[in-house]
């Protein structure tokens, strides 16, 4: 710092104190500019404490070499500090250039203080209550969105030509096709890990073959669909929220509305539908890959021949398990899509809001997917599947 050309000689600002016949004189000198603001503040803080008694204060600025808003404000602050009824401090030596600046600074008013909310236990309770009640809003939003989707679907059924088929295909590609590699990788690893753990623990009491039962039931009924749904909530749910949110911020959604289009039908229906088509397909792929991964581990780690693995699988795993898993997929997709779109449309002006709603979208949809899975477990148990 300070080795640039114009700053070759850096003078320091100063504020000297002297007495004169009428009272106290303060002589400002040097550059009173933004660059020196920290030292100016110290000077002014010290000077403000000077006891002036009954006398009048004279502020002499004739030796100030440079003045900008910062300097002018500090002089003004001194003036206000020493202002007494009938005994206004006098400012002396003000050049014409700077007097307009002083006029500007003189107009500055502090806003009336805003009463800050004090944090009492009562206020805390109030905040907690509001936060809890606020989580209910997502449920209200979801049911409103569900209704709007139904209306839009009915409209599309009656006017099939208005359906955005291109958009649907685009979103299936984005959320389905492009998610295939990561889904395959994750479910493969999950299948491997479950089987390895099963073999390790079951073989201690000679029940190694039951690992096939565990793998089949766990993957087909629960884990396959759950893992895929959670992955998609994080991957596609968040991108839906961010897309819709930034469209909302840039008034694109309002623009659609003014042209007589329903944003639900144009933007949201194709997205949710795409998810409802893509998620079951990904779940199917995930199920198969997890079983394959499990089979590989059973062969190379557990020493079970593929033929034995397959025949055991066919013996103990009925089609019911597969159906139970697959039935859940579109419902989870609907939930993820609705949460993502509700949050996307709730975005307000700032980029911070966009971030908050994207986070909320992922958190809520993962949570709700797990809750929905629990509800399905109760349902299937009661109908004996």
């Amino acid at each position: 710092m300070g080795k640039t050309h114009s700053m070759a000689v850096e003078a320091k600002p100063a504020l000297d104190q002297a007495t004169y016949s009428d009272g106290v004189a303060l002589r400002a000198s040097g550059p009173w500019t933004a660059r020196n603001a920290p030292s100016l503040e110290q000077l002014v803080l010290v000077a403000e404490k000077i006891a002036v008694g009954k006398g009048r204060v004279l502020i002499d600025v004739s030796r100030v070499s440079n003045l900008d808003t910062f300097g002018a404000w500090f002089i003004e602050r001194l003036r206000r500090n020493f202002a007494k009824p009938g005994l206004e401090p006098r400012i002396m030596g003000l050049s014409d250039n700077y007097s307009t600046l002083f006029e500007e600074v003189r107009k500055v008013q502090e806003p009336p203080p805003v009463a800050k909310e004090r944090v009492t236990p009562f206020v805390l309770l109030d905040r907690i209550g509001r936060a809890i009640a606020g989580t209910g809003n997502i449920l209200v939003g979801l049911s409103a969105m569900f209704g709007a989707l139904m209306v839009a679907t009915w409209w599309v059924i009656r006017h099939p030509r208005s359906f955005r088929f291109t958009s649907l295909v685009h979103h299936i590609e984005q959320t389905g096709w492009r998610a295939v590699p990561i889904i395959l990788l994750i479910t493969f690893l999950i299948g491997c890990i479950i089987t390895q753990q099963g073999i390790f623990h079951f073989s201690k009491f000679g029940a190694g073959v039951f690992v096939v039962d565990m793998l089949g039931v766990l993957v087909l009924r629960e884990l396959g669909v759950l893992i895929v749904a959670i992955m998609i909530a994080g991957r596609s749910g968040s991108s839906y929220t961010a897309e819709l949110g930034s469209m909302k911020m840039r008034e694109e959604i309002d623009a659609l509305r003014t042209m007589g289009f329903d944003p639900i039908e144009v933007l949201i229906l194709p997205r949710v539908l795409a998810l409802m088509i893509a998620l079951p397909m990904l779940t199917f792929l995930g199920d198969i890959t997890a079983l394959w991964g499990g089979g590989l581990v059973a062969q190379f780690y557990g020493g079970m021949q593929p033929a034995a693995f397959l025949s055991r699988l066919r013996e103990v795993i009925t089609i019911d398990h597969f159906i139970v898993g697959m039935v859940k997929a579109p419902f989870m997709a609907l939930l993820i899509g609705m949460v993502a779109c509700v949050e996307g449309l709730a975005v307000e002006g700032s980029s911070e809001s966009l971030g908050q709603h994207t986070t909320a979208s992922v958190v809520y949809s993962i949570f709700l997917v797990i809750v929905l899975d629990g509800v399905f477990a109760i349902f299937f148990a009661s109908i004996g599947m």
């Binding site: 500055v108 502090e110 002006g349």
Partner: protein, 259 residues
């Protein structure tokens, strides 16, 4: 108002391009200390490109840019930052940080560079807000709660936060109603007079050019095709200048200004 004729910004032989296309081709321009220079040109002619190149947001192919007597190529990182503190930029859409309140937006550059108490920071915020014609109560609002005109004013207050010597304004009056735009022109004029600012203003607004600017520079074919006062522009025979300053939209203005 130009006290001295020494250029505070001096651009010589500047060439800037994207790929094959040259946007600026051997451009020369001097901005004098203490003046308000209006910079005009057809849409897409590269007005914003010049501004962005001077303030260092775009790389140049060749040429020299001197700001406050310092060549920006040779000055190095430290020196560059030193210069950047001495200019302020008002972007076309304000570019306020949307997650910060007005107060935090204005205090942001000051807080980063200087160790000042909260009291002084607040007082300076109110001072800047008053200068740009806003009430200090606005300080706790967020950019999304402001109107277009207020956003421009707050953005100007932020550009002025460090008491710069040069302010770059990119279409400051676009999107404002004529009264708001007129007020903004007056504001720029007043600030230039009180603070001794040099203002580099990209604009399409003929009123601004007429009422606020000391000199006007015209961009065409990647070069400055004319520099001078409004009278010089009106007297010019150049076809583009003719249609710009004597076109339908200009006629009423010039007539009322002349008579």
């Amino acid at each position: 108002m130009a006290t001295a004729n020494d250029p505070i910004i001096s651009v010589s032989n500047l060439t800037v391009g994207f790929g094959e296309r040259l946007v600026l081709n051997g451009l020369n321009l001097d901005v004098r200390r203490g003046e308000i220079l209006g910079f005009v040109g057809a849409s897409g002619a590269g007005k914003s490109v010049l501004t962005r190149t001077i303030i260092g947001l775009m790389p140049k192919r060749s040429g020299r840019i001197e700001v406050m007597g310092v060549d920006l190529d040779t000055v190095g990182e430290e020196g560059r930052r030193e210069i950047e503190r001495r200019w302020g930029v008002l972007f076309q859409h304000g570019a306020l940080f949307s997650s910060l309140s007005v107060r935090e937006n204005i205090q942001f550059p000051v807080r980063e560079l200087m160790n000042l108490s909260d009291r002084v920071l607040d007082e300076m915020t109110y001072a800047k807000l008053t200068m740009v014609g806003l009430k200090p109560e606005v300080a706790d609002r967020y950019p999304s709660q402001l109107s277009g005109g207020m956003i421009k004013r707050v953005a100007l207050a932020r550009a002025l936060a460090l008491d710069p010597e040069i302010v770059f304004l990119d279409e400051p009056t676009s999107g404002l109603d004529p009264i708001g735009a007129g007020d903004f022109d007056d504001l720029v004029r007043t600030l230039q007079r009180t603070l001794g600012l040099t203002v580099f203003m990209v604009t399409h607004d003929l009123d601004s050019l007429y009422t606020a600017c000391d000199r006007i520079a015209v961009l065409g074919d990647g070069k400055v095709i004319a520099v001078g006062t409004m009278d010089d522009m009106l007297a010019s025979r150049h076809p583009w200048l003719q249609s710009y300053f004597h076109g339908k939209r200009a006629r009423g203005l010039i007539k009322s200004g002349r008579s």
